[in-house]
């Protein structure tokens, strides 16, 4: 384990930025943290998290896939992919680190999504423990997320005056090597104390007892037709906020943009809340907002775990709790239709 003083963290950022693009949460003009490319003068935000999750780095909201140009009877096809280079995402929270595993299971299983895979390969993730979790946090509901000790290539802990680093992977070792001259070797006393402090707060979180045990693979018949969906979805606006701020929502559409003399084929996030989601030649298979709403929660709580060894498609980051215009969210759904509180 190594450490540096909090005052000198910008030196570390500067060192990394010499060789790699470095992204980290920075407070925007409206005071809301957003992942921003670091340059001199940018300060690491104190916010618990960003509104937009870091999934953008691997699965951007819009990306061009290829370009067709036509002239006469000829069609020219260009691979317009940009050469990926190594980059660092700094300050990723435990929930968001876990979300990458959930995305991996979709994009890295056969057929592998080469666009996603390339970015994943080039990304170095430096996570940071959650010194001040929010009341909307419920990562404890799900397995393999530890806010006191997040995963990632490097784990960092930020205390009042210092930042501590521990490498977890080869990529992480390389990162540590790079900042070696700016950090000093230390024991884990301070980190152990920080972990205890966080663990004590986690025990006080209002959603600490939320359980997902009632859900999981094989539960489609149990939940698909419960009457509560009507009530839960009654005032859903059908906007895409929950899906777009969600770190694990992975649905996308592929569309063609007419450039005048050709086509740019691009991929963009899609939302199961939208009326034209998965519209097919025969029309749409989910005609009401209730069906669209149900799809989102069934996907996270039943279908995804069914296809992925019981792993839920939610990491408890709480973004949908904070951002849904009608304050309807997965916690309310879980409590209403079956999530039992641990005794």
């Amino acid at each position: 384990m190594r450490k540096c003083s909090l005052d000198s963290i910008n030196k570390i950022f500067g060192k990394i930025a010499e060789t790699n693009k470095l992204y980290l949460p920075v407070d925007g003009s409206d005071g809301v943290a957003v992942y921003t490319k670091w340059e001199e003068g940018k300060e690491w935000s104190n916010a618990l998290n960003t509104v937009r999750s870091p999934k953008d780095f691997f699965f951007p909201q819009v990306e061009n896939l290829m370009e067709f140009k036509t002239s006469g009877k000829n069609i020219e096809l260009t691979d317009i992919r940009e050469e990926a280079e190594d980059f660092v995402i700094f300050g990723v929270r435990a929930c968001d680190v876990r979300s990458f595993d959930i995305l991996d299971r979709v994009f890295l299983t056969d057929p592998v999504d080469s666009f996603y895979a390339s970015r994943r390969e080039h990304g170095v993730i430096v996570s940071v423990a959650c010194s001040k979790p929010s009341e909307t946090c419920f990562c404890q509901t799900f397995d393999n997320i530890d806010a006191t000790n997040p995963l990632g290539d490097v784990t960092a802990w930020k205390t009042e005056d210092s930042v501590y680093f521990k490498a977890n992977t080869e990529k992480g070792e390389a990162f540590m090597k790079k900042i070696e001259s700016l950090t000093e070797e230390c024991d884990d006393t301070a980190v152990a104390a920080e972990k205890d402090k966080i663990a004590a707060i986690m025990k006080k979180l209002p959603l600490k007892d939320l359980s997902a045990d009632a859900f999981g693979g094989g539960k489609t018949d149990t939940f698909f037709n419960v009457p509560e969906w009507d009530e839960l979805s009654a005032t859903c606006l059908g906007c895409g906020t929950c899906t777009f701020v969600c770190p694990t929502c992975q649905c996308y559409d592929i569309k063609d943009f007419n450039t005048g003399n050709g086509v740019i084929r691009y991929r963009c996030w899609d939302s199961c809340m939208y009326s034209e989601f998965t519209k097919m030649a025969h029309g749409n298979n989910r005609l009401s907002q209730k069906e669209r709403f149900r799809q989102r929660f069934m996907h996270k709580l039943v279908y995804y775990p069914e296809n992925n060894e019981g792993i839920f498609g939610c990491v408890g980051c709480g973004r949908c709790l904070a951002k849904c215009p009608i304050s309807m969210n997965i916690v309310k759904v879980m409590k209403k239709i079956g999530g039992k509180v641990n005794e």
């Binding site: 963009c268 034209e276 009608i326 916690v331």
Partner: protein, 332 residues
């Protein structure tokens, strides 16, 4: 902060459900916390008694829900309307968007709603309870040893600070005292933007709109956006898009939307309230309202049912297009 109490509203809803005046109630339903309130359709007195809530976080404007809900409910639906909501209510009636006969509207006074983001700015994260203390909110957090008292005025939502009216322009029944139309400072920020150079103004909107994630929450919450199929959702429209293909388009979405609701927007402020990216979208709409006022005389959409908006009406007093052009030229 609110003068009318939750118990009074519950009593009213229960009475109207019990005597058969209405068969459903559009109201605010309790959340996990004291601020995450969900609009709900209550079908029974028991549900109302258990989950109905009324506090400083009941900002949602129910008028638009009437478009969908009046078609679903047998008999009448009770809707509670704050003064600003009644303008949207009238505007929707003007546009024949729901059946007035299917609605029982109860006007309720509003002292202004709180913005949870402003509360967080003061007390920080980890809010576990918020109690109304009359003039202030008593906020308990995971991190402060004692509850923090926050002045209601200090955390009031922008649209309520600049409240345009405490007067109800539509209702079947009114609870509490009715208020007056207010001379607000709501156009001050627009005037500030107008005073900028075109480059400064472009930069301002560039910065704001570049945060857009195209979630459509502004459109979906907007009571003036009630098209059965929005052009941006129609795959056959050639402008349908789930994401901005480029930055030009990203800006155009909001500008086109602002044009579409011009003259119909009542300035309810729902667009900015629901924006997950804190984009001050209401300023685009207010610019149109301000221009309409200046070009055609004072006009408030929704002030009465059936009024003809200046942009779809013609009078011989109307401003000549050339004068608009000249004015635009001066601003530039």
């Amino acid at each position: 902060m609110q003068k009318i109490t939750r118990d009074q509203l519950v009593e009213k809803a229960v009475a109207l459900l019990s005597d058969g005046t209405v068969s459903a109630v559009l109201g605010w339903s309790r959340g996990e916390f004291d601020y995450d309130i969900t609009p709900a359709v209550f079908k029974s007195a028991e549900e109302v008694k258990e989950n109905f809530v009324w506090n400083d976080f009941c900002g949602a404007n129910f008028s638009k829900y009437l478009v969908a809900q009046t078609g679903k409910v047998e008999g009448k639906i009770l809707v509670f309307l704050k003064p600003c909501d009644t303008y949207s209510f009238n505007q929707l009636l003007t546009e024949h968007r729901f059946d007035r006969e299917k609605v029982y509207a109860v006007g309720i006074p509003c002292e202004g709603m709180a913005d949870i983001a402003k509360v967080r700015e003061i007390v920080g994260d980890g809010i576990v309870s918020i109690e109304d203390d009359g003039e202030s909110l008593k906020v308990s957090t995971l991190y402060a040893d004692a509850p923090v008292l926050v002045g209601a005025k200090d955390v009031m939502a922008e649209r309520c600070v600049n409240c345009k009216s405490k007067k109800h322009v539509a209702f079947d029944e009114l609870m509490g005292e009715d208020g007056e139309v207010i001379e607000s400072a709501r156009f001050d920020e627009v005037a500030r933007l107008e005073a900028m150079t075109p480059d400064e103004r472009f930069l301002f909107w560039q910065n704001e709109l570049s945060r857009c994630i195209r979630c459509n929450a502004c459109r979906d919450a907007c009571p003036a956006c009630t098209c059965e199929k929005c052009v941006f959702d129609n795959p056959d429209s050639a402008v349908e898009n789930k994401a901005p293909a480029n930055s030009f388009e990203e800006k155009m979405f909001h500008i086109i939307r602002a044009f579409h609701v011009a003259g119909r927007c009542t300035d309810c402020g729902e667009c900015s309230r629901v924006c997950p990216q804190n984009i001050p979208l209401h300023l685009l709409n207010r610019k149109f309202i301000k221009d309409i006022n200046e070009f055609y005389g004072e006009y408030q959409a929704g002030a009465e049912v059936g009024s003809r908006a200046p942009l779809v009406d013609y009078t011989t007093e109307d401003l000549e297009p050339g004068e608009v052009f000249e004015r635009g030229d001066q601003d530039a």
